[in-house]
């Protein structure tokens, strides 16, 4: 099999496409797409771990990405001292109540025999604990949200450099995945898919509605940056020297420079991840994961703990998605829960994995670049197509106006068609999984 030329050819095509955008539209646009492609690639790697290595269908990547984004806020924003002083105490008490409830429930269960009575008692303990926690939680929330609601009205963060949020975001997503996995793993594949789809909606609902945590849909803007600001660059002598040496305009040069900085950071993360993942795949652990994926029962008969391994890879994959979510918030410089939707953060990422090639890390990266490129460029392409189709119509013709307005939605159809075509005619993806021994 001539496996080498094809991937090279495909990646060369990607580079060519971005160069074309660079010359055709602008280098700034091209680089913005590259940055989002890199983030999507990290997300796709996370899903590929779960689906490609272990055969788990996780339709909840939106939730994990949002948790990563939340980490961006909680790590980088300065703490709001007033909120902590008015609501911190009660909030802490309510957290204690939750912990106490869990401990009482667990201990209670240990001391009672199995049966209906035990379940009823557990339910009662949880119910009482819920109301106790709410009794402290509600006033705390009210106090916190009333602190200068237009600007803060939340607890703020830890005031650390935002780059740490990439790790914290991964930890958040991994922790959430551990809880979800403990409950939902062991379900059949399709039930698990439905359950993860549900949990991601719940995570997002919490982030949107708990204003004390991250201002909910009021958004948190102005997050700090790991890279220099354009305005500082434009006044610093070394950058101006660089620009005169390159013969470029300092204003547009500074935006491109900032985007390049981000790209370098993201490429770093991506390469580290791929290196780790490739090593993992080639280790006995990777062999075991493939064995479990290909035949769960045989692997179980060989003494492998399938549920535990599934939990492990689910947590790891979710953590990678969380890292990507934090990277996205960092790039945006703001956290906007309203912008998360399952189509873009779950299903498009899925298309990337399937198109790139399930089980192949480089395939996921390739898929991310190709699919994100189509997702972004389908919009201008759709507009161009609609303009072409409707040239015969009058400027103010309602049909023409409607078609032009609706053109952006064409990319959703294109995405579906790409997925269906690849699934039908090249089910292993553009870069099929490499057979390893």
């Amino acid at each position: 099999m001539s496996s080498l030329p094809r991937p090279l050819f495909l990646f060369a095509g990607v580079v060519l496409a971005f160069t074309a955008v660079g010359f055709g539209q602008s280098w700034g646009v091209s680089l913005s797409i590259v940055n989002l492609c890199l983030i999507s690639a990290v997300m796709a790697l996370g899903l590929n771990m779960q689906w490609g290595y272990a055969g788990l269908i996780n339709l909840g990547s939106m939730g994990f990405a949002a948790l990563g984004g939340l980490a961006g806020v909680l790590v980088s924003k300065a703490p709001v001292a007033e909120s902590w002083s008015v609501g911190g105490g009660n909030l802490g008490l309510s957290v204690l109540m939750v912990i106490a409830t869990v401990i009482v429930a667990l201990v209670g269960r240990r001391f009672m025999a199995r049966g209906a009575l035990r379940n009823i008692v557990t339910a009662l303990i949880i119910l009482v604990g819920y109301f106790l926690a709410r009794a402290f939680f509600d006033p705390a929330v009210e106090a916190i949200e009333s602190v200068d609601g237009a600007k803060t009205g939340y607890l703020g963060g830890a005031g650390m450099p935002i780059i740490f949020s990439w790790i914290v975001g991964g930890a958040f997503a991994g922790a959430a995945a551990w809880i979800i996995g403990k409950i939902a793993l062991g379900l059949r594949t399709d039930y698990f898919a439905i359950a993860t789809l549900g949990i991601s909606e719940i995570i997002l609902a919490v982030i949107k509605n708990e204003d004390w945590l991250s201002r909910g849909v009021k958004n948190v803007t102005g997050l700090s940056r790991p890279v220099p600001y354009e305005i500082d660059l434009q006044t610093s002598p070394w950058f101006l020297d660089l620009m005169t040496w390159l013969g470029g305009d300092p204003v547009s040069g500074s935006t491109i420079f900032v985007k390049l900085c981000y790209a370098v950071l993201f490429i770093g993360v991506l390469l580290i991840l791929i290196w780790l993942l490739e090593r993992a795949l080639n280790s006995p652990w990777g062999r075991m994961m493939r064995a479990i994926r290909d035949n769960e029962h045989a692997a179980e008969a060989m003494g492998k703990n399938v549920t535990r391994r599934h939990l492990q890879i689910f947590v790891l994959g979710a953590a990678v998605v969380g890292v990507a979510g934090a990277m996205l918030t960092t790039l945006d410089g703001q956290f906007t829960p309203g912008s998360y939707n399952p189509l873009r953060f779950t299903f498009v990422i899925w298309v990337m994995v399937i198109v790139g090639g399930s089980g192949n890390n480089w395939g996921s990266v390739l898929g991310a670049f190709i699919i994100w490129f189509i997702w972004i460029e389908a919009e201008p392409a759709g507009l161009w197509l609609m303009n072409l189709v409707t040239t015969g119509l009058d400027e103010s013709d309602p049909l023409r106006l409607h078609l032009l307005r609706s053109a952006p939605h064409m990319r959703v159809i294109v995405m579906g068609l790409v997925l269906l075509l690849v699934l039908r005619f090249s089910p292993k993806g553009l870069m099929p999984e490499v057979r390893r021994r």
Partner: protein
């Protein structure tokens, strides 16, 4: 005593009626999911968007009728447009089956492949709907608003609390009842219906006894498209039509189907009502209700709302997970494929 009746009316108005309405809408949706599960044996993620596609067509035809001045006042024009929407949805599903699913059926692909294919179709349906009608909210109900108005009820009973029955609520429940009866008559009494049940029960045995699988699948899509369009139209008349909301309905619909026992039609209906009533009762604020039934000194000062309405998905999810853990076959012992 009046206090007690006031409390009862309050609960009927804000819990019982919305629960019944939402439950009937969910039941129609869950029946569709469960039939696909029984016959084609996969979880159809495109179901929510199929609902929105059918409903979109109903809305377009409704507008056309309204433009021509055709109507069936006091009933909403959408009822007149419903057959057109159903026809469009049927054509769409049959086309999708021919171009997408049949290939995998012939190859006897794993259910997971069907699931991923349904995600692809979900994209196509949802993009088509957004392309044609846009992602925004649409109101398309016309005709009379209420079967029973608050003031009328208050005048007759003399109670402080009013009871209002919206026409859309009555329609949802009535139409769902008729559709369900027709469906069960079809499944129990007709030759094709029996063939479908046999096929769902044991594919190999059904094939041995000469049942044509393509015919069974054809009728399954026919029924599912009709159910989805009716469910979507009823939901849209009752609330409003928004493509994304219809996608989100997937979760309660799946929860209902799984709760009742997947592949089990009666189970889907029972599951739908359990899910609907759980959502409504858990997100209802009981403050006013308690004020009526409790002595004055016990009056609560908070809203007494167990969960804010923003978290209604959590209810479906919890039900889903509890069922899957405690009784994976569902209440009515559906199949485990």
């Amino acid at each position: 005593m009046t206090e007690f009746f006031n409390a009862l009316v309050l609960l009927t108005n804000f819990v019982l009626l919305p629960g019944l309405t939402y439950g009937s809408q969910l039941a129609l949706g869950a029946l569709g999911v469960t039939i696909i599960y029984g016959i084609l044996r996969f979880a159809n993620f495109a179901h929510g968007d199929l609902m929105s596609f059918g409903t979109m067509f109903v809305i377009l035809v409704t507008w056309w009728f309204q433009g021509m001045g055709v109507g069936i006042d006091p009933l909403p024009t959408a009822l007149l447009a419903l057959p057109f929407g159903i026809a469009a949805a049927i054509l769409l599903t049959l086309f999708a089956d021919k171009t997408v699913y049949r290939f995998y059926r012939r190859r006897k692909s794993a259910p997971v492949i069907f699931l991923i294919a349904s995600i692809g179709l979900m994209f196509v349906y949802s993009g088509t709907v957004r392309f044609i009608i846009g992602p925004a909210d649409q109101q398309f109900g016309d005709g009379a608003r209420f079967l029973l108005k608050v003031q009328e009820f208050k005048d007759v009973t003399g109670l402080k609390e009013g009871l209002a029955i919206k026409l859309s609520q009555g329609l949802s429940v009535g139409v769902a009842a008729i559709v369900v009866i027709a469906l069960f008559w079809f499944l129990q009494r007709t030759r094709t219906g029996k063939a479908m049940r046999a096929y769902s029960d044991n594919e190999d045995l059904a094939l041995l006894s000469g049942i044509n699988p393509e015919r069974v699948v054809f009728f399954a899509w026919l029924i599912v498209a009709a159910l989805a369009t009716i469910a979507g139209t009823m939901y849209g008349l009752d609330k409003s039509f928004k493509p994304f909301t219809y996608f989100q309905l997937l979760l309660p619909i799946f929860a209902s189907a799984i709760l009742g026992g997947i592949g089990h039609p009666i189970g889907a209906i029972v599951g739908a009502f359990i899910v609907a009533f759980s959502e409504v009762t858990i997100t209802y604020a009981y403050k006013k209700f308690l004020r009526y039934i409790l002595p004055e000194s016990w009056e609560p000062d908070s809203l007494v709302q167990l969960l804010s309405t923003d978290y209604k998905f959590a209810v479906s999810f919890v039900i889903l997970v509890v069922v899957l853990l405690v009784r994976p076959t569902g209440v009515f012992r559906g199949k485990v494929i």
